[in-house]
């Protein structure tokens, strides 16, 4: 394999790898901007992946098979939003510690998905999944075509959502309310903003995005479901929000960087390059730690009330 095709292979693999991380991290950005960090993202992704997998699995060979993927995507977003609301009930209404509640939600989501999978499906089975949809003309461009324009529709959707989320966060009244309740909820409350309601909405949206990220993994990337399908991507998504400094564009950069490192380690193994396998697997995670350590030194512009429950009756 020559160097050119080796690099091209890394780029072609890297873009679709970044999508699950990007979708989950965009949702997590909204959560964290509203002052809640959702460590249960991993569990919501697992539930989303499982729920999205069910319609194509059960509707195969029926007249509804063509719509099965779409039904799966909608259901996974719905379940993700419901789990987000459950998390909001625990951390906003009951003001539970967000870290512990997030771990609880992660275990609940992961365990429920695995248990239901064992009960209704049994073993690892493939589904047709979402096919690739090359964009006419653009996919024929050398190098750029296969890297950017020869993927399934969810890849294009994920990258289109980046400017959409940026616009929602920084240019709409709702985005301003989200940032206000995450930065100084007491001031937002005194201006008549319902802090709890905004946080519920943000967590529902974040949950729906995490569900969609899980659905992408089971329907478009792996085209199957297994217990360890998510493989820590939910936690990586939380880290990417810090890396991207709570900005959708920065988050996209982080997702691409991590997925390119992931695709590099896979390409090294596939190419048979004489490099220790363990170090190759370790590489993307070490890269995230190094980058986060560097970002820590830079000016942080995160929400100042991140992780702090809001109690309007509390004396200050």
């Amino acid at each position: 394999m020559n160097t050119g095709s080796f690099v091209l292979n890394i780029l072609i693999l890297g873009v679709p790898f970044s999508v699950a991380l990007l979708l989950a991290a965009l949702g997590e950005t909204i959560n964290q901007r509203a002052g809640i960090f959702n460590l249960g993202c991993e569990g919501i992704m697992a539930m989303g992946a499982f729920i999205a997998f069910l319609p194509p699995f059960f509707l195969a060979g029926t007249p509804y098979a063509a719509q099965a993927n779409l039904i799966g995507l909608v259901l996974s977003m719905g379940v993700g939003a419901l789990l987000g609301i459950l998390f909001a009930l625990v951390v906003v209404t009951f003001r539970a510690p967000q870290g512990i509640a997030g771990i609880g939600l992660q275990m609940l989501g992961w365990g429920t998905a695995g248990t239901l999978f064992r009960h209704y499906v049994g073993g690892v089975t493939g589904v047709p999944g979402i096919p690739a949809m090359p964009i006419p003309v653009l996919s024929k461009i050398p190098i750029l075509g296969p890297v950017l324009f020869n993927h399934n529709p969810l890849v294009y959707l994920a990258f289109l959502l980046v400017p959409v989320f940026w616009y929602i966060l920084f240019k709409t009244p709702w985005g301003l309310r989200v940032r206000a309740v995450g930065t100084y909820p007491r001031a937002a409350d005194s201006l008549g903003i319902n802090v709890a309601r905004v946080r519920y909405q943000a967590l529902a949206l974040g949950g729906a995005m995490a569900g969609l990220a899980g659905a992408y993994l089971s329907l478009a990337q792996a085209k199957m479901f297994a217990d360890d399908l998510i493989a820590g991507r939910g936690f990586i998504a939380v880290a990417l929000v810090y890396f991207g400094r709570w900005n959708p564009v920065g988050v996209m950069g982080g997702a691409l960087l991590f997925s390119l490192a992931q695709s590099l380690q896979l390409s090294i193994q596939v190419a048979g390059i004489n490099f220790p396998y363990e170090f190759a697997v370790m590489f993307p995670y070490v890269l995230v730690i190094i980058v986060l350590a560097l970002v820590r030194k830079a000016k942080m512009v995160g929400p100042s009330s991140l992780g702090k429950p809001f109690d309007r009756e509390q004396r200050i």
Binding site: A96, M107, L108, T112, T115
Partner: protein, 106 residues
């Protein structure tokens, strides 16, 4: 210690009752969420009161009496002396203030 006991219980349930590991995770997650939520609920009588009122409104049952001095019991303390504030010094002060302002106007 709580997490240690939870893990030990999970192992034993898996071995003795043949409950799959994933089910144990569901139980662990549900217990953690219930405990962290219950702490706030148990410590705060106003949350309990508000939930009880919301539930009774939802199911159409008569509302339980509000605890004395709570916000629900006294919706607007600036109004004329409310029966729920009858014993409170604030109500007396408000009544006296209204009386004096009425006299001054007349």
């Amino acid at each position: 210690m709580f997490f240690g006991l939870l893990l030990l219980g999970a192992d034993m349930t898996q071995r003795l009752a043949d409950v799959p590991a994933n089910m144990v995770l569901v139980l662990q997650g549900a217990i953690i969420l219930a405990i962290v939520s219950a702490r706030q609920f148990i410590n705060n009588p106003y949350v309990q009161d508000s939930l009880a009122r919301r539930l009774s409104r939802m199911f159409g049952r008569p509302m339980p009496p509000a605890p004395p001095g709570s916000i629900q019991a006294c919706p607007d303390p600036s109004d004329s002396p409310d029966p729920c504030l009858a014993d409170e010094p604030l109500a007396e002060a408000l009544a006296a203030q209204k009386k004096s302002s009425g006299e001054a106007r007349s």
